[in-house]
Symmetry: C4
Subunit: 230 residues, 4 copies
């Protein structure tokens, strides 16, 4: 980046840095608002340690939902952080694809609250899984766009972004499938805690089944670099 | 920027970067707080998937209002981001014009909540449209100030900011007109989803009807640059 | 700053930039949370435009309190922004003085809610004024520390920070005095909207009555610069 | 940092800057959300200054809890800020150890609310102390990782991070011990206000009892630097 004149801003271009800052803010707020959804004890619940303990035990699903949603959003942030570290400028499509991603991240406290208050309600579990599936689906689409069109920093291995998109697809599949399975199997949501494993193996898998796409990528990158220079 | 000594801070000057960071934070928080306004199901609503489905269907206007307000604030952020990318230092007037803009952005969750709970109440719809109109009106004023007085980064095409102000004016007009129309026509709020089209054509239109203003701009810019250098 | 090797971090030193970012975040959140304190209409209030209009009129003090608290926090942010623009590194005392400032800023939504719901309750008005007075008092102390001990950026006029501290003192006095006057005079809170005038004249005034202090400042600054270099 | 080519991003590496920005955001939001937990006066409580005063006095524990939790989170931020000022790039373990730290910080408003509403309930006090102990324990672990594996900025004294970890351990011990003591002694929570003293002396103490560890550290650092250069 140091060896060329910085390109003057263009309509379709978007500094990756500030998009990262905005996504940081939305994700940090959504992650911190989750705690508001846990019901506070009142009146009788506070009368004795025993009553409070009973209240906390009764609300146990809220704590599970809090931790689960925290790690979902954390993983979105963590992967987004890595992506922005690798990208120099965003094109219009990658930038636009942030809108549904952040919309769903901001919406997540709602299904989390419902699931935390009624974990046995199948629609509540389905709603949570469906929101998570949509969230990770958007993430996969965003990375797909970034991989095809964003201008990467020099020295970044483009195939890593493709692998990361594969990881997002796997997690999407896990949540989409369990959104259906909740209707027939109880306790299926235990699987959600193993989503990181799906991300890991999904990334590996995508490396194998999409080798053909690699070839065209560097040329497109070079082409884009050339366009920005001029 | 690299070829001259950075100007020492002045009273009337304001680094654009941190104004961007503050606006980011306020908009990100407002956008994420919107989810709090959606009513949570309680007691009976959670008893069965059917009861929950009925509750969600009953609250459908809240979801529409959430998505609508999300995209309004997102579009404000998106355009503000582009503006800050192009501006080097803010003058006092442009900085001050952020106060009403952010006040209205921070206020938006209130009319959104009312509209989401009572979409058929004409005053609720009017209040939402009026707040949005005021918000975009402030945006137009801010860009007008930025276009006249802010110090742009080198290589930025000043006419783009004027066009962007034209887009804001168009969206303002759409919301101001519908704030009146809600009193005579139901379902008029469907138009709000097409505000981006108004922004697009409004920008194009402003290019035609204000060509005279272009001429004086570059001289003023050069003059300002000269002032900062000294 | 460009003509010397960057000093290695020291215990007592604190990069001004990130303190600014944290203060930005706290102030932005406090300013955006204010809207939560406005009561939402429910049930009957939403039945007709007329009922809603009556509700909004009944809550009018909440809107006044919202706008008032918004501009208080905005003015704190605006002046803090200017200060951080001028400071290179914070000493330990200036950094520590941020804690009560941000504590009071984060607390402001509470007296704002009470004042908004019961503007005629003298204790409510007194609490609001007292919180504001404490907030601006902390601001004055922070600037006093910054003026004495923080390492300024080269080319910054140190006397400007002193003047800014004078402005904070004036606003503090206005709120402290009205915190007492609310007990004897109704509607005294109208004065709060003119606090910016107090800031303006207070700054001017402090220039006159504290000329003696100017002399010792530059030497201390030079001394500090020398310490950092070694 | 200026005398070497910036290393290209690696999988295990993480720019410290943005982790700082995200932690800033989460901590700033958690610190500002605390005020929401203080109960608002309603109806009768607002009828007269006397009724309001009684209400405020009745809720006094909420204010104490607010101030206490504010300073806990402030101290976490303050020490994290210092750490990030010293670190150049984070390794995978240090980055991952932020997740439980931020989870607990985001969770703190919950036990704060309970403790504020029922300070005499021993389980409430125990829950608050236990959450704080876990929070500072995570902080200690994170610093331990940073000390062993993160790549520091040139010129930073590595032993300072070890001392800082010692301070965190001491505060953890204070909260863990009082989490037990609340069951046998009332008013024990006064000790929590003296946690900063524990941090101070704990840091000093750790310098003495862990001198052996110092020796291996610089070599590991050098080794890491060498790895990044290549």
């Amino acid at each position: 980046m140091t060896d060329r004149v910085p390109p003057s801003p263009r309509d379709e271009d978007f500094s990756a840095h500030r998009m990262g800052a905005f996504a940081d803010a939305v994700l940090a707020i959504a992650i911190t608002l989750l705690v508001i959804e846990i019901k506070r004890p009142e009146g009788e619940d506070l009368a004795s340690p025993h009553a409070l303990a009973e209240f906390l035990w009764h609300e146990k699903a809220s704590f599970v939902a809090f931790v689960l949603a925290f790690f979902l959003l954390w993983s979105v942030w963590r992967r987004h952080h890595t992506l922005i570290d690798e990208v120099d400028r965003l094109d219009r499509a990658t930038a636009a694809s942030h809108a549904p991603l952040l919309l769903l991240a901001a919406f997540l406290p709602f299904p989390t609250a419902i699931f935390g208050h009624a974990p046995d309600n199948k629609l509540a579990a389905c709603l949570f899984a469906a929101t998570a599936a949509a969230l990770f689906g958007c993430e996969a689409v965003m990375k797909e766009f970034a991989w095809r069109r964003a201008i990467l920093k020099p020295g970044v291995d483009r195939s890593k972004i493709r692998m990361s998109a594969g990881a997002s697809v796997s997690v999407t599949v896990v949540f989409a499938v369990t959104a259906g399975l909740v209707w027939v199997t109880p306790w299926i949501w235990f699987i959600w805690f193993f989503a990181p494993l799906a991300a890991y193996f999904g990334g590996k898998l995508s490396e194998r089944i999409r080798p053909d796409v690699i070839d065209r990528a560097p040329e497109r990158q070079a082409e884009q670099m050339a366009q920005t220079r001029t």
